[in-house]
């Protein structure tokens, strides 16, 4: 009897085993530290509990101002990114698969390019001695000086440029899920092209718009690179404050309180979002609720939309050419321009890196590879590069192993539980990274892992797991499970099935996941800023230190190298996708 009971529990639990390492890992190195932030922020000096840190936060208007600035900037960036990204996503969603793949590369290169490289490029372009400034001075015979940074507009340019690819990528799956037949149906029912767009496509795409807005907003909340390098002190954001409180005043509980405020704000935004739109719209799952489209389909708003569509269509009909091709080419032109704007600014690092002079001047003076030589031969850069590569590879290896187990487990859980576990596994991607970093800093400090490669790998696996799980879970969703049945009947045992059928078929996705995990680690500054101390710096950390101290052409050489690496990685990734 007892044996039976045990064995039936075992049969039920056994399929879940492969996911347990990933779940356990995230419990310890994600859930625990983030929870600890909340708890520790309530501890006061004498070992008791209280709101002392929050009171201090509230008492000083400077902190409130930083919070206000952070939210204002994040909202602005989210709104601008959506508006700029929407037409691009619309165009991509109407392309053939092959064509979309080609266009997506132009989004993925800037998406995966390090924020540090992108921000460095904007410094080179926008500062008073930068490329645009020089150009303006030259054109106006020295009467006009253009210095766009440091300023709020510099911050906004840098952030929107950095996040438009994220917005497009988030909106795209929802838009692709909208059947092209629906717009056609609307047109046979009497709507014009614009009318069909406004009454059918736009409302159906809104969940994607909200999802993109949410992700951009939350990512921006945790930004510190862009405001620190492109902004004035007036644009100080909360992540900068947290970093300086920890690294300069060592006031951990107060930093905890700041992080907790950020965390609570994030969670509130999520709850509000879930109420309004439904969290499932993130990541291309079809939205269970679409409150917004419900709103639009009833009453006044609907009538206004229809009226507006009819008006637009009448205007469009006055344009003599076939309206379809005309609006199509305008859209293509816009998307091409946007792709150029996303890719080109970053390329400024290339000419600067092969200049001969030590000053960052434009146009470049003379040709020389001395900065590459400086990069390669400097023991500091060398050590940083090797450490980044090692940590990246370890992260990818551990991340893919644990992530594959977790993805397998997800397929064996029933819908509701599977969704909850999936949300937990991707949570590190959705919280501002700075919160994860601060929490880990507490925990790793106690474990004596700060300043070690092991500490870095732990932190990076937390960040990389969501990418791995998303990639592999999608691959397993497409996986034809009857192949397993077929192999089973043909005589293959569980291990043989895995070796001969599942793994070979998942190999391209596993390679993609590996690459994504590697890039996540290789690119990370937030964890590195806390966890890699003293001599043991990583490449991004070394770049950051140099940029804060004094920008120099070696940085351009490093940036160019990183740009090449990311481009190669993106092309490699897209070739994996094509194989399928």
């Amino acid at each position: 009897m007892r044996g039976n009971l045990f064995s039936s529990a075992w049969t039920r639990l056994r399929p879940l085993l492969p996911g347990l390492p990933a779940l356990g890992f995230l419990m310890i190195f994600f859930l625990l530290p983030v929870g600890e932030i909340l708890v520790n922020s309530l501890k006061v000096g004498d070992g008791g509990w209280g709101f002392e840190h929050y009171e201090r936060l509230a008492a000083l208007p400077a902190y409130a101002r930083v919070l206000g600035t952070t939210f204002a900037i994040s909202l602005t960036v989210a709104a601008l990114s959506i508006v700029i990204a929407y037409p691009m996503a619309f165009l991509l969603s109407h392309m053939s698969v092959r064509r979309r793949m080609r266009w997506t590369i132009w989004l993925m290169v800037p998406f995966w390019t390090s924020y540090l490289v992108k921000t460095f490029a904007w410094i080179l372009l926008l500062s008073r001695t930068g490329a645009l400034g020089q150009l303006a001075t030259a054109l106006s015979d020295g009467t006009f000086y253009l210095g766009l940074i440091p300023s709020l507009s510099g911050v906004l340019i840098g952030m929107v440029h950095a996040l438009v690819p994220l917005a497009v990528i988030t909106m795209l799956p929802i838009m692709q899920g909208i059947s092209a037949q629906l717009s056609g149906a609307a047109q046979t029912l009497g709507a014009g092209r614009s009318g069909a767009f406004l009454t059918v496509f736009l409302p159906l795409s809104l969940p994607g718009v909200w999802a993109a807005g949410l992700l951009v907003f939350i990512t921006t909340l945790g930004f510190f690179i862009v405001p620190a390098l492109l902004g004035t002190p007036k644009e100080t954001m909360i992540a900068q404050l947290i970093i300086s409180v920890i690294l300069e005043t060592f006031n951990m509980p107060f930093a905890g309180a700041l992080s907790a405020v950020l965390l609570i704000a994030t969670v509130l935004v999520f709850i509000a979002y879930d109420r309004a739109v439904g969290l499932s719209s993130i990541g291309g799952m079809e939205s269970s609720r679409s409150g917004s489209s419900r709103g639009a389909s009833s009453g006044l708003l609907m009538r206004a939309t229809i009226r507006m569509g009819a008006l637009l269509d009448r205007m469009a009909n006055r344009v003599p050419n076939a309206i379809g091709s005309w609006s199509g080419s305008v859209l293509t032109g816009y998307a091409a321009l946007l792709a150029l704007l996303l890719v080109l600014p970053t390329l400024i690092v290339v000419p600067i890196s092969i200049t001969n002079s030590a000053a960052l001047t434009f146009p470049p003076q003379g040709f020389s590879l001395r900065w590459y030589e400086a990069f390669i031969t400097s023991p500091i850069w060398q050590a940083a590069l090797i450490r980044s590569l090692l940590v990246g590879l370890s992260t990818a290896l551990i991340g893919v192993t644990m992530g594959l187990g977790a993805a397998l487990m997800l397929t064996r859980l029933n819908g509701r539980v599977s969704n909850a576990v999936f949300s937990f596994l991707v949570a590190p991607l959705i919280l501002p990274r700075i919160i994860v970093a601060v929490g880990l800093f507490y925990l790793l400090g106690r474990l004596g892992l700060v300043g070690t490669e092991a500490g870095l790998v732990i932190g990076h696996v937390v960040l990389a797991l969501p990418y791995v799980v998303v990639t592999l879970a999608a691959a397993l969703k497409r996986y034809d499970w009857r192949l397993e049945d077929a192999a089973m009947i043909l005589g293959a045992g569980a291990f043989t099935r895995m070796r001969t059928v599942m793994l070979p078929l998942l190999a391209p996705s596993a390679a993609a996941a590996f690459l994504l995990a590697f890039l996540t680690s290789f690119d990370d500054l937030t964890i590195a800023i806390f966890v890699s101390g003293g001599l043991s710096t990583t490449l991004p950390k070394q770049m950051w230190d140099d940029m804060v101290l004094q920008v120099n052409p070696t940085l351009a050489a490093v940036s160019t190298s990183l740009l090449l690496l990311v481009t190669a990685a993106v092309f490699l990734l897209s070739s994996f996708r094509r194989d399928r």
Binding site: A486, M488, L490, G491
Partner: protein
């Protein structure tokens, strides 16, 4: 007659049942499959035929009952140890392996020697005329070719029982008919025991030694195609296999003691044999009916539709009050003209009285 003298059944189920929560996918079922026969499991979707097949394959665990292979209980054996092969609905070919590697897969799983693998794979591919495409990948093949590879992969290791789960469902009509002939040929040449799931009655009639008709999670009737066609046991069996006129009414016994069925205001003669139930259905196949003069018919009515079908005509006769009788008449039949008033009659021996 004398079933008990026969050899043991190749496969049999005893009270085999499957429940998903409160939903019964298969009521307790006993069937016997004889060695070397081709049995089709025929029925509409949701009738339990695929569930039954998957339990025989070992892909679905039964909620109760037993499955015997050669008389031995194999209910809980892993799929690979049941001596079965299976052809899947959309083939389930491994997309990352060539045709040859797909077919060699079960041989490799059985640790066959390399030379023998090559020989057996060639033999299996030759049986389905696919040797020339051995190096192709599955995605480079047409649907019919993929189907042949799936068959070869199933036959190559000579399983004694072969399960086919609607294997021709994805093919177009001509190819499907061609492949049906291929499967008949393979069944003859291999001499294995085939269990074939389909929802297509023509396919079942074409292929089967016996048909197991299923409906609402249970077996409705088992028999040879001729038995099923000529002596269905229920209204469902009569209407699912072939076209039939089902005339439901009350059975009366007249003064002489001969029974008849009251239908549409007429008394229809019944086939020989006892008519016990009060209410019953008389089944008459359209081809058993002839068109006669109005006076000499069991029933009379007006022709409302004449459809040319090549070898014969389909004639709709409106009896009265919207009741229709379908008649198949020879193409050159002069009697069938639209709006003519005609009589219909049949040999009572060729009708079947159904009480279920």
């Amino acid at each position: 007659m004398g079933h008990w003298l026969n050899m043991q059944a190749k496969l049999s189920t005893k009270g085999l049942t499957k429940k998903y929560g409160a939903v019964v996918a298969l009521e307790p079922t006993d069937i016997e499959v004889k060695k070397g026969e081709l049995l089709t499991l025929l029925g509409p979707s949701g009738s339990g035929k695929t569930t039954l097949l998957q339990m025989v394959a070992g892909l679905v665990q039964p909620s109760g009952g037993k499955i015997l292979y050669d008389g031995k209980d194999g209910t809980h054996l892993p799929p690979g140890k049941r001596g079965i092969g299976m052809v899947f609905q959309s083939y389930a070919l491994f997309p990352h392996m060539s045709v040859k590697d797909n077919v060699a897969y079960p041989m490799r799983m059985r640790k066959t020697l390399a030379g023998e693998i090559d020989r057996e794979v060639d033999r299996a591919l030759a049986m389905v005329q696919m040797q020339h495409l051995a190096q192709r990948m599955p995605r480079e093949l047409s649907g019919g070719q993929q189907q042949r590879v799936a068959l070869a992969r199933c036959f190559v290791y000579r399983p004694e029982i072969i399960l086919l789960d609607e294997p021709l469902g994805a093919l177009d009509k001509n190819l499907r008919e061609h492949m049906q002939m291929e499967i008949r040929r393979l069944h003859r040449e291999l001499g294995g025991t085939f269990i074939y799931v389909t929802h297509d009655q023509d396919e079942a009639l074409t292929l089967s030694d016996r048909i197991c008709l299923m409906n609402e999670a249970r077996v409705e009737q088992i028999g040879t195609p001729a038995e099923m066609y000529h002596t269905p046991k229920s209204r469902f069996a009569a209407s699912f296999l072939g076209h039939s006129n089902l005339l439901t009414g009350n059975v009366h016994v007249d003064a002489n003691g001969s029974p008849s069925l009251a239908w549409a205001g007429s008394c229809l003669p019944l086939p020989p044999g006892g008519a016990t139930a009060h209410s019953a259905t008389l089944m008459v196949r359209p081809e058993s009916i002839s068109l006669v003069s109005p006076e000499s018919g069991f029933l009379r009515g007006r022709i409302t539709e004449v459809v040319f079908h090549g070898s014969d005509l389909k004639v709709l006769v409106d009896i009265q009050g919207g009741q229709n009788i379908v008649v198949r008449a020879p193409s050159e039949s002069p009697a069938a003209r639209l709006n003519d008033t005609v009589g219909v009659r049949w040999s009572p021996a060729r009708s079947v009285l159904l009480t279920q």
